[in-house]
Each structure stands twice: as structure tokens, then as C-alpha cells.
Symmetry: C2
Subunit: 306 residues, 2 copies
């Protein structure tokens, strides 16, 4: 039975490239595997795939009767529908350990590094499989994206080393220039409806029984998003009333200033003060130095909600 | 903060040796770590530690305010008390993925192989750390034990390769002879109270909300256990009434005949027929070819209880 490799909902570049690379690595280990995605790719990922001749994976959302390899997540809320009706045979990730469980022994590679693709680079080496140049280029871009070009506190020496090696394999001499070009594509919001912007990099979490949504938009200059703030807040209100959330937070991250303006919509806004020691000013709060949802936002909120 | 490395309740040789080896590997990676155990070591493990100059880890059962590395399990029911009041920073395992979750990114090495120590052998290689001869000997014995000297269906080519290499490092030329000696120690039951025998290799599972206990005794000849069957069954009844279990199963495994006589005590004995296509004959059922609780007993029961 062929396995399907899938990342989280609202796929980002790490999730898509991880699915493509793991399917390649598994196939070369002699196990048939195809990448799938839970939704269409975002503009940044489209740029990366275009640059290195990759193809967006087919969209599929149901795990029933499938063998599944999870990449870049291990939370049920972020995974395929009916995951319990399929079989998870492997997990490759760089997040906290979520609530996915299995009935059979499986293969897991999870490291506390900046990007799943950094783990995958090491897996190619471990299994003695040569990384194709185009996949090396995509892996490199995913790491630059997830680590905000090494600025994120999630970035580790392994991430930097992986980018150095992957750039050589891909034949890219000035990878930081390519990173800036990629972040400019990511920052482009012109003409994009606010609903789509909100969902571009959005995840639901179960925090002590409460449904909490956290989105993030990374831009090279926060002023780009200024005209969209009201419309984004209105979309958060809509999503909250339809989804039955306790809270929805949206991080507007300025990767140059290295901080985030967080829009707050919550049944109990005091959780923000509890989590960050700083109260909400109107509808938002400036969090200096906060670039990483995973490392700087999810853990303090999980504690505040506990 | 130093980390504590701990295996599952009712520790077996894999759990104890994994804790000792991972503490060694972590220390050599520059991270302070000490092995602990959730209970005293069994006779087989005592034999292995004695053979290679190892020390039984200190018994500790509470995770509060500790950094924890889990080995050989990822189920809350098999782990330390108050695991949510400590922080799980790493998991090394070879079982199905259990219900442990974390708030922060962590390091996980989980492979579908016969023994956690096979994963650990590969981790030493990955981190370029030399395996000390005495630890190599213990790792080798743990793999021979968990794979029933390569007879278990859980055994993989990686397990065999690891034993070959570890035997050389440990300076053991006839490792199969050592394996037989070890299993004879494991088979010795003379004078051991039935209550202690039942708990020697016993695990509780949560199967679709029902508490299910599964124990296993591996012997070189089933006739060794014949005089103990009634007393073991009486201990199962006592444990069930005290523990509020739905079912307790005890596998009496004959590693030479390669099968298990399973003692059955259940609120619904029909689950056995559902799981194995074979009904209970009196108080037990012979399961031909069944050597592995993990691969041949837990998965069919999980399906039958679902």
C-alpha cells in the first residue's frame, strides 16, 4: 500500500516541501509514497516551487484507509479528517508533541530545530540517499522561511549548517538574496481579501479544552498591513462566531523590526496579560522580539490557559 | 537543570539499559542526565547489570519540576506520576505512539524495531560518540531479550546488525550462548511469589476508555510455569478487583515452542475471540506463534475494544 505524506492544514512552505522531500526519500528507500496537501499552496510556496521546478501536491483532506506519514505537525486539530480511520506509519516534525496516537509501532524523527526540512536533510544523510538539486533548493528555502532568515529564536546551528550545505547542492551562491526575494513575495498583500490573509498561516489549538486559533503574517515592513487591520479584525470576529473559538490571535510580524503586533479577540483578554505580562491596548498588543508562534506564543498561552 | 532518563513501570531490561545508555550519551553530548527507574530491576536485568558492571538506577516515581527523557514508552499510564508537572524534553522508543504530549518542541527518536536499544546504538553513531564496552554489552543483551534472541516477529535486520556490532565492541564472541544463559535466569521462578511473577513484565493500557492489563512471562519451557497457573490466576483476580480493570491477560510464552498460553480474566471474554479468532478454553487460550505483546497482542486487542 502506498503511503501519503501530508503536512498541517493551511500549508506553509515547510509543510509542502517536507511532504515532497519525504515522498522522494521514502521512494528511494523502496517504499512507495506520494505528497498530498490539505489545501492550496500560498504565494511564498508557489514562488519556491516555481524557482526549483516543483509541483504543488494534490489536495486531499481525508485519511480513511490510507497509510499516512505526517510532516511538520502531530496535532489532530491540524491533521487530516478521519486520521483514526487511516494508519500513521511515520512522523517527521519540529514542534511540540501533539495528541496523535497510533495502534502500531512507527518511525518518528522529531527534533527541536527551526524547520522540519532541517530534520529531513539529516535523514537523507542518515539513509545515505543523495539529495536532488531541486529538492535541496526547496529545503533550503523552507528553512530560510521558517527561521525568518536565521533571526527567529527557533533557529539552531543545525538549521544554518543545513542551509549552507543545501545551497551548495542546489547551486545557489547568494542564498540570503533569495531569502529576501522570498520574503518580499510573502509580504505582498495587494488585492488579497482579508479572509484569505487571515488563513494564510493559521492554526487551531486545543488549550485545556478551549479552542484557540493563532494566525501569523510575516512582512518586511508592518506598514504594509496597516490598511488591512480593521478588515482582518472583522474576519477574526466572523471566524470566532462560526468556529466557536474561545480566542483568536493574529500575529502581524515585522521581520526587520523583529517583533509582532498581536491582534486579540478573546472571551477572556486577561490571558494575554497572564501569558506575556503585558495587557491589551485597544484591540492589539506589541510584543517586542516575538517572531516565533511555536516557541514564543504557543507555550506561554498553553500555560496561561492551563 | 539536569534531566532524568526513565523507562516504563515494571522495568524490563530494555527500559533499564536504555535509561543508563541515554544518560551516558546525553552526558557526552554535554547535557547532564541521570538514569532513574520506576521500580526495582527484575532478575534478568540484575544478571545483565552484573555481567557488565552496571548499577541499578535509583527508584523515583514523580516527575514534578524535573526535565524528563522518556525511553521505551510514550504512554501516560506507563510513565511517571505527575508527568504534566515536569517537562518531557526527549523520547526514545520503539512502540506505538502513546498519549504523552508536550508544551515545547522536543527530540524524538522512535523506530519500528525490536528494541529501544537498537535505536540508541544508531544514536551513538549519529552523534559520533564511542559506545563504552560495558554499555555495548548491556545494549546487546537488551536487544537479545526484547527480540527473544531474534525469534520475535518484532525483530528487524537492524536489531541483528546492532547485536553483531555491539558484541564486537563488548568483546563477547558467543552472544547466543549468553542469550540462552540470560533466558534461563529469566525463566527461573522457584520460590518467587505469584504476585511478583504477575507484575514482572506487566503493563496497563487504556483501550477505548477501558483499563486493560497485559502481563507476559517468557520461559524456555512452559512446564516451568504449570504449577503456578492457579496462583497466578488468583493474583489476576485480586489485581482486577483492586484496580478496576475491564480485563487482565497474562501471556505465558514458551520461547522454544514459539507460542503463548494466555490466561484470560475479562468482563467480556468475547474480546479474545474478536481479537484472535479463537475462543477461550476454560481460563486460557493457546496462541500459536504469538511471542510479542507489542506487535501480536496489543494491536488486535485495541481493534477488538474499539
Amino acid at each position: 500500500m502506498a503511503a501519503y505524506v501530508v503536512g498541517h492544514k493551511n500549508p506553509d512552505t515547510d509543510t509542502i516541501v517536507s511532504a515532497i522531500a519525504i515522498a522522494d526519500l521514502w521512494s528511494k528507500r523502496g517504499i512507495e509514497a506520494s505528497p498530498i496537501a490539505q489545501g492550496p499552496v500560498n504565494p511564498e510556496t508557489k514562488f519556491v516551487l516555481g524557482k526549483f521546478g516543483g509541483t504543488a501536491p494534490e489536495v486531499q483532506t481525508d485519511a480513511t484507509d490510507k497509510q499516512i506519514i505526517l510532516v511538520d505537525h502531530s496535532d489532530l486539530a491540524q491533521s487530516l479528517d478521519n486520521l483514526d480511520k487511516g494508519e500513521v506509519v511515520a512522523v517527521v516534525d519540529h514542534h511540540k508533541l501533539g495528541d496523535v496516537t497510533t495502534s502500531n509501532p512507527l518511525e518518528m524523527w522529531v527534533w527541536p530545530v527551526g524547520c522540519s526540512c532541517t530534520v529531513i536533510k539529516a535523514m537523507y544523510d542518515f539513509y545515505n540517499v543523495e539529495i536532488p538539486a531541486n529538492i535541496a533548493g526547496m529545503l533550503m528555502c523552507a528553512i530560510l522561511s521558517d527561521t525568518v532568515m536565521f533571526k527567529s529564536p527557533t533557529c539552531t546551528p543545525q538549521d544554518k549548517e543545513a542551509v549552507e550545505t543545501l545551497a551548495k547542492i542546489a547551486g545557489v551562491s547568494e542564498y540570503m538574496d533569495l531569502g529576501v526575494e522570498m520574503f518580499k513575495v510573502k509580504s505582498a498583500v495587494d488585492g488579497t481579501p482579508a479572509a484569505e490573509l487571515l488563513m494564510r498561516d493559521y492554526k487551531d489549538f486545543d488549550m485545556s479544552g478551549k479552542k484557540v486559533g493563532i494566525g501569523q503574517l510575516e512582512v518586511v515592513d508592518l506598514s504594509i498591513l496597516e490598511p488591512y487591520k480593521e478588515a482582518l479584525y472583522a474576519e477574526m470576529e466572523k471566524l470566532k462566531s462560526e468556529g466557536g473559538h474561545h480566542s483568536i490571535f493574529l500575529l502581524l510580524t515585522d521581520i526587520m523590526k523583529e517583533g509582532s503586533d498581536m491582534l486579540v479577540l478573546s472571551d477572556d483578554p486577561a490571558v494575554v496579560e497572564k501569558a506575556f505580562g503585558k495587557g491589551v491596548d485597544g484591540k492589539s498588543v506589541w510584543l517586542d522580539g516575538v517572531l516565533s508562534r511555536k516557541k514564543q506564543v504557543v507555550p506561554p498561552f498553553e500555560k496561561a490557559f492551563a
